[in-house]
């Protein structure tokens, strides 16, 4: 700053000058920010100014804080000397760690709760924006947190986010380009797309892609360079704080080194297929990094097609919400039987068998209940190569990889898949068995010399032959090579290609992305080596035309597809290339999701090795509160994970004691000699949440409201009357107690918080709870949907660390399921279920068969289901749904079922066993299906029948079918 210093801090404390001091601070800051604004505006730039760029020394800042605190105590929220408040609020934001902002503010500035005014802070930040071209918060998070978004945005990069940004920059460093470093908005978008594994707080920060990009570019400036986006002192402060942690400092150093190297390499052009303007025509011939890879294996039934998932997280660079949906929603992959669990699409390298060849007129991958824009992006950016034939080069006996360019070479072996039978084939193309439905397989063994008739036959199939020229990667292994005409390299690598021909040549024309170069052919060699320099991320095409000495026309031409892609980021949960991996659903589970059993972990590792599992709870400052260990045989599927977690950790007293205090949970899985993988689950940063506590008066909850949206509407449902809402008037910061416990719901604007409040249990008498009474309603679509919605509310509420909360909730959910079943299926069915529950396992079927229905198709359906239960090898929900769909297809026509409808079968089974899981179904779809069930209650009876038989068979308990364990996603 050019102005004179503020009054210095005195040795025995901070000197304060009262109102005069506040004014002095304001004037100093005003002059400073005017100067920063002018500097930023030079050259017509519109680079925003941040309140954290105040340029004050530590001593000066101490004076400012003291003045602000004094002013707050005196209720002096000045409209003239307001800049100190803006700087003070930004400083609080800089140290903010995701807890309650205003509580932190109050702790640092006593009296704020009584004398302060949140709206004053927002208004002053808006003044700052207008006066100094200050930064303006953007993104969904800023809309939710309309006040605190200002000081947090003006804190530039709060301390708890610095480490995460350093890591994102480190992992993205090889994909940096000079263009990106010169375009913070685009860099911010790319980095935001790559931050899906970061904490919810960082993801909120990343929603402001412009700010993210500017901070990133500023952090990546070289030594002795000045950033146009942040003042030098602020940048130094962030880098110093960030480097206090050794690992984060090294991440940043390595990322900066890469950026410096990249800046010196010069500019690149944007690749075809990577830019926004890439056309569909280009995509038909050139693969892009989000296209899956196809390969075939020879199985007992014949050649079988498989797809390997690409890194779909790169789509996050195009659409901000894509990774959030990919990380949470279940997906349908055409041809892959059942649905793919939520989050799985974000684990590249997974291989899926294609039971049926995907139709080209429908999207390959779609998310269930996904937004239209995300599904449109998936449909566009994740495709198989066009048919009607697909060619695979045999790489190893019984294994072939797709040749996307669809050309063959002499003397090689291939497998050809065609969507229709082929005729008039050369003798070296012979039919073979295919175990993927919808395609016909052929073995191809090209002769050493391919004649004109053969070439014509191949062309008829849409396949070219290349005889005079060979092109291959040379020297170092590319990231992927199909063995013929397509290869992938990582961003930052220069592909090296060998071009070979036996013809006598003098020159060749190499056309890279439509730019031709005439290159002399080297003397006395049949091979030319070329290096393709500085290719940008995306698809590129190299066309080769060979020119002989005696003619101007090329004697041979060939194409080669080059894909440059960003490296896949390695999550701490490991990758499928390693011996040990955790696949999580959702992909970044929160602490409550892990605790409540709503997060499904699948630990993949070599059988029969054992995995040691360590779970540690930590507080906000990452201090370990409690750690517990267990072990289990690998692999551990989601069902076993829930059992293991519940038995080894969920019932542990110390874990219970520290759960409410914990802000994160660290799961570490180790298999000796194979490795260690980890998963960090954080308490989500929610605009509205209940904090659970317990004192000598029993359990209570307190509402934490960061929404700035007015007073919360609070409702309560008692365990005894789980569908009857009771309004609650709750004063600010008041504790809510209810000895009978139940579900508490608070809503403000679009934010909602749900929690199960456990009952007060003082003695054995309190353990005796009346069974829940579900108030009867009419047998109507609206009532069924209402009950589904209420079950969903109960099931999705957070559970505190209290065993009574979870057991009472289970009782409630059973009651709602039972009531809903009887409402739809009728009292006779309800009676039959109650009788069956008292009977031995073997008698359940006979008791219920008669109640399904007396008509012949109903009896046939019951008999068929009983047989299928006996033949089931797995009781996994997806298998059960497949089997049920097959039975309904055979016997359900009279009940309105058309063909084998897997989704209807799954809906019915969910309704029969876990109606809460239908709470997120699209309303039109839900209504249509409920209408069908009310018109044909036999469908739900059959689903209940199947559910009771299978769960009862597993657990010897007819009542078990009602258990609301997370069997369905």
């Amino acid at each position: 700053m050019n102005e004179g210093p503020l009054p210095p801090a005195q040795a025995d404390g901070i000197q304060r000058l009262g109102f005069e001091g506040l004014t002095l601070c304001h004037e100093r800051l005003e002059a400073h920010f005017n100067e920063v604004r002018s500097r930023r505006a030079e050259g017509g730039n519109r680079i925003p100014v941040f309140a954290l760029e105040h340029g004050l020394s530590a001593a000066e800042l101490a004076v400012l804080k003291a003045e602000v605190c004094a002013a707050i105590l005196q209720r002096n929220l000045s409209r003239d000397a307001w800049l100190p408040f803006v700087v003070y609020a930004a400083e609080v934001g800089y140290e903010y760690r995701g807890d309650e902002y205003w509580q932190t503010f109050e702790a640092l500035a006593p009296g704020w709760i009584e004398n302060g005014d949140r709206h004053y802070i927002r208004a002053r930040f808006q003044d700052f924006k207008d006066r100094f071209h200050g930064a303006e918060p953007t993104g969904p998070w800023a809309r939710h947190f309309s006040i605190i978004c200002w000081p947090i945005t003006h804190a530039v990069l709060p301390t708890d986010l610095q480490r995460q940004l350093a890591r994102v920059l480190f992992e993205y460093r090889s994909a940096l380009t000079p263009d990106l470093l010169a375009d913070p908005d685009e860099l911010g978008r790319r980095l935001a797309g790559r931050s899906w594994q970061a904490s919810s707080r960082f993801q909120n920060f990343a929603q402001n892609t412009s700010l993210l990009g500017q901070v990133a570019v500023a952090l990546l400036v070289g030594e002795d360079e000045e950033s146009p986006y942040l003042s030098d002192s602020t940048l130094k402060r962030i880098v110093t704080d960030l480097s206090a942690e050794r690992e984060a400092g090294r991440w940043l150093t390595d990322a900066k080194s890469s950026a410096t190297r990249i800046r010196t390499r010069g500019f690149r052009t944007v690749a075809r297929g990577s830019g926004k303007g890439s056309s569909a025509a280009q995509r038909r011939t050139l693969p892009i990094s989000s296209d899956p890879d196809l390969f075939v294996r020879q199985r007992e039934g014949g050649w079988t097609a498989y797809v390997e998932l690409p890194d779909l997280s790169v789509l996050g660079e195009r659409l901000p919400n894509v990774n959030e949906e990919l990380g949470r929603l279940r997906a349908r992959f055409q041809g892959v039987g059942g649905p793919i669990a939520g989050g799985r699409l974000l684990y590249p390298g997974q291989q899926f068998r294609l039971a049926e060849w995907p139709r080209s007129d429908s999207p390959l991958i779609q998310l269930e209940n996904g937004s239209a824009d995300v599904n449109a992006l998936l449909a566009d950016r994740c495709r198989l190569s066009p048919g009607p034939c697909w060619l695979f080069r045999i790489r190893e006996s019984g294994f072939g990889t797709e040749v996307r360019g669809k050309f063959v070479r002499s003397g090689h072996s291939y497998v050809l898949l065609s969507d229709s039978p082929l005729s008039a084939l050369p003798t070296w193309i012979v039919p073979a068995a295919s175990s993927t439905a919808g395609v016909f397989a052929y073995g191809v063994a090209t002769p050493t010399s391919i004649g004109p008739d053969d070439i014509a036959a191949l062309e008829h199939l849409g396949i070219a032959s290349v005889t005079e020229v060979g092109i291959r990667p040379a020297g170092f292994v590319p990231a992927l090579w199909d063995g013929e005409g397509s290869a992938e390299w990582l961003a930052g690598e220069d592909p090296v290609i060998a071009i070979r021909s036996n013809r006598a040549l003098t020159k060749c024309i190499l056309t890279l992305d439509n730019t031709p170069s005439l290159v002399p052919w080297p003397v006395a060699t049949d091979e030319l080596f070329v290096r393709l320099r500085d290719l940008d991320v995306g698809s590129h095409e190299l066309l080769v035309s060979l020119l002989p000495s005696d003619a101007a026309a090329p004697v041979a031409k060939a194409g080669f597809a080059v894909l440059i892609r960003s490296p896949h980021m390695r999550p701490a949960t490991g990758t499928l290339r390693e011996g040990l991996t955790i696949l999580a659903n959702p992909v970044a589970p929160t602490l409550p999701e892990l605790w409540d059993g709503q997060a499904a972990l699948h630990i993949i590792g070599p059988s029969p090795a054992r995995a040691n599992i360590e779970i540690a709870l930590a507080d906000r400052s990452n201090r370990e509160l409690v750690v517990r260990r267990s072990s289990g045989a690998l692999p551990i599927d989601p069902a076993r994970w829930v059992q293991l977690f519940t038995s080894a950790f969920g019932r542990d007293d110390a874990m219970h004691r520290f759960y409410e205090e914990a802000e994160s949970c660290h799961v570490a899985v180790t298999a000796h000699g194979v490795g260690t993988v980890t998963l960090r689950c954080e308490r989500p940063f929610a605009p509205l949440r209940w904090a659970f506590g317990r004192d000598r008066n029993g359990p209570f909850v307190r509402l934490v409201d960061n929404t700035d949206g007015g007073r919360a509407v609070v409702r309560q449902f008692e365990f005894g009357r789980p569908v009857d809402a009771i309004p609650v008037i709750l004063a600010d910061r008041a504790l809510l107690r209810e000895p009978r416990g139940g579900l508490v719901i608070a809503e403000v604007g679009g934010a909602r918080a749900l929690m199960i409040l456990p009952p007060l249990v003082r003695d054995l008498e309190d353990l005796r709870a009346e069974p829940p009474h579900v108030t009867p309603g009419p047998r109507s679509v609206a009532e069924v949907i209402r009950l589904i919605g209420l079950a969903h509310l109960w099931a999705s509420a957070s559970l505190p660390a209290d065993p009574f909360a979870s057991t009472r909730r289970l009782v409630v959910l059973r009651a709602i399921t039972g009531h809903l079943t009887e409402l739809v299926c009728g009292t006779r069915w309800g009676q039959a279920e109650r009788i069956a529950a008292q009977r031995d396992r073997g008698l359940i079927a006979s008791e219920l068969t008669a109640a399904i229905g007396a008509q012949s198709y109903q009896l046939a359906l019951a008999g068929d289901l009983q047989r299928r239960v006996g033949a089931l090898t797995s009781r996994a929900p997806a298998r059960l749904a497949d089997s049920f769909a097959a039975a309904l297809a055979l016997h359900g026509r009279a009940a309105g079922v058309r063909g084998q409808d897997g989704r209807l079968a799954e809906f019915l089974l969910r309704l029969a066993s876990q109606p809460s899981s239908l709470g997120t179904l699209a309303s039109d779809d839900l209504r249509a299906k409920v209408e069908l069930v009310l018109a044909s209650p036999v469908l739900l009876r059959a689903a209940r029948f199947l559910t009771l038989l299978t769960d009862g068979a597993d657990r010897g308990d007819a009542q078990a079918a009602n258990d609301e364990v997370s069997r369905w996603e």
Binding site: R246, E247, R250, T253, D254, R268, T269, R297, Q298, R299, R353, R395, E396, S397, G398, F399, R472, P473, A474, G475, F476, V477, P478, A479, G483, L490, E493, V496, A498, L510, L512, D513, S517, V519, P522, E527, F529, V530, R531, L532, R533, D534, L535, P567, H568, R570, L576, R577, E578, G579, P606, S607, P608, A609, P635, H672, G673, V674, G675, T676
Partner: protein, 366 residues
């Protein structure tokens, strides 16, 4: 963006650089570069089979200066070393209900020699370097071994900061207990006794216990009608590399067999096969051999080994000594400090029953 024409020499130098090696000191077809190529290929292809990994590396090298008919087998041999060393892991893999074995990336780790020098182990996915930029330049490459010399604990601290796990040598070696040859063979024989009769396996190859133990490759052949007994063998599988097995053969036909490993499912199958064969060789009266070449003017001796050694021996030798280019018919060679020589020879004698058939004194570097 542009196209640059390279000579073959430019190309190999560029490739060596991409692999993170010193193009001025290391040739693209050297063991060090082949190991780096295999590590890079594995980082993109795992889980995979040895065949695909070798083919992928071979395709990148074919027709480059120095490439020969032997290159394939050299890559194969380097891959074996990487497996023994722990850069790659051969683990059970559930292939749609069929148990197979595949190669996975070894976990990033390091082992400290007594001198403080750290041996680096493991591969990160996606061609990512094992350590950060500042440590990369300090890595030395000796055959398949990567090491950073240091006499202080600073390097170890930096490696730990880079999330490499420190392994204690004994933990890393993972040697089995000491046993007599009969004791080693017994569990395999007992398992074979109760194995179900099998049909003959097309393509089965076996180790001929009567063939000279000093020429490993020459010991492999197809069963003959005159063969009867129990043999270490390999059998083809539908996909992937041939499986190691212990087979009972009568009249040249396999009548029953068991797949290896049976003791440790997480160890390479070859570890059990090679120790089992060493035990069989002893019982047949053909103990395996090694040769020591001592040089009185040096503190180092050279040990020639003629049979492959399980990973727990190779790792031990990697910690104590330095792998060398093989010489004079040896399958592989190590340079060992004379101070450690006796202890290592004794270990080989106890664990693999090797006989020291030294060829006499010879100058180092011959």
């Amino acid at each position: 963006m542009g196209i640059e024409v390279l000579t073959a020499q430019d190309l190999t130098a560029h490739a060596v650089q991409v692999l993170g090696l010193d193009a001025g000191a290391i040739d693209l077809l050297s063991v060090e570069a082949m190991a780096a190529s295999l590590r890079r290929a594995a980082s993109f292809l795992c889980p995979t089979t040895p065949g695909i990994l070798i083919r992928t590396v071979d395709e990148a090298l074919v027709r480059l200066p120095g490439y020969s008919d032997d290159t394939w087998s050299q890559i194969e041999s380097v891959l074996d070393s990487l497996l023994s060393y722990g850069d790659l892991l051969e683990l059970p893999f559930d292939d749609e209900g069929v148990a197979r074995r595949r190669l996975f990336l070894g976990v990033p780790a390091f082992v400290r020699r007594a001198s403080g020098t750290c041996l680096l182990i493991g591969i990160r996915p996606e061609g990512a370097p094992l350590v950060r930029d500042d440590l990369l330049a300090r890595i030395e490459y000796d055959a398949h071994v990567r090491l950073i010399r240091s006499t202080s604990s600073t390097v170890a601290e930096l490696l730990i900061a880079d999330r490499l796990t420190e392994l204690q040598p004994e933990q890393w070696f993972g040697a089995p207990r000491v046993a007599l040859p009969e004791e080693v063979v017994a569990p395999y024989a007992a398992r074979l006794d109760v194995a179900r009769a099998s049909g003959d396996f097309e393509g089965l190859r076996m180790i001929d216990p009567t063939a000279p133990v000093t020429y490993y490759r020459g010991r492999w052949r197809s069963p003959r009608p005159s063969d009867s007994g129990r043999f270490v063998a390999r059998r083809p599988q539908a996909f992937g590399t041939d499986l190691w097995c212990f087979a009972e053969i009568a009249g040249g036909q396999a009548t029953r067999l068991i797949d290896l490993p049976i003791v440790s499912m997480l160890a390479p199958a070859a570890d059990e096969a090679w120790r089992l064969q060493a035990a069989i060789d002893v019982l047949e009266g053909h103990q395996q051999r090694l040769a020591v070449h001592a040089n009185p003017r040096s503190h180092l001796s050279i040990v020639d080994l003629f049979s492959p050694m399980p990973s727990w021996i190779q790792r031990r030798l990697d910690v104590v000594g330095t792998p060398l280019l093989r010489s004079r018919g040896a399958l592989f060679c190590y340079s060992l400090p004379n101070l450690e020589l006796h202890e290592e020879l004794e270990f080989l004698r106890i664990m693999m029953w090797t006989v020291n058939a030294s060829l006499g004194e010879m100058p180092l570097g011959a």
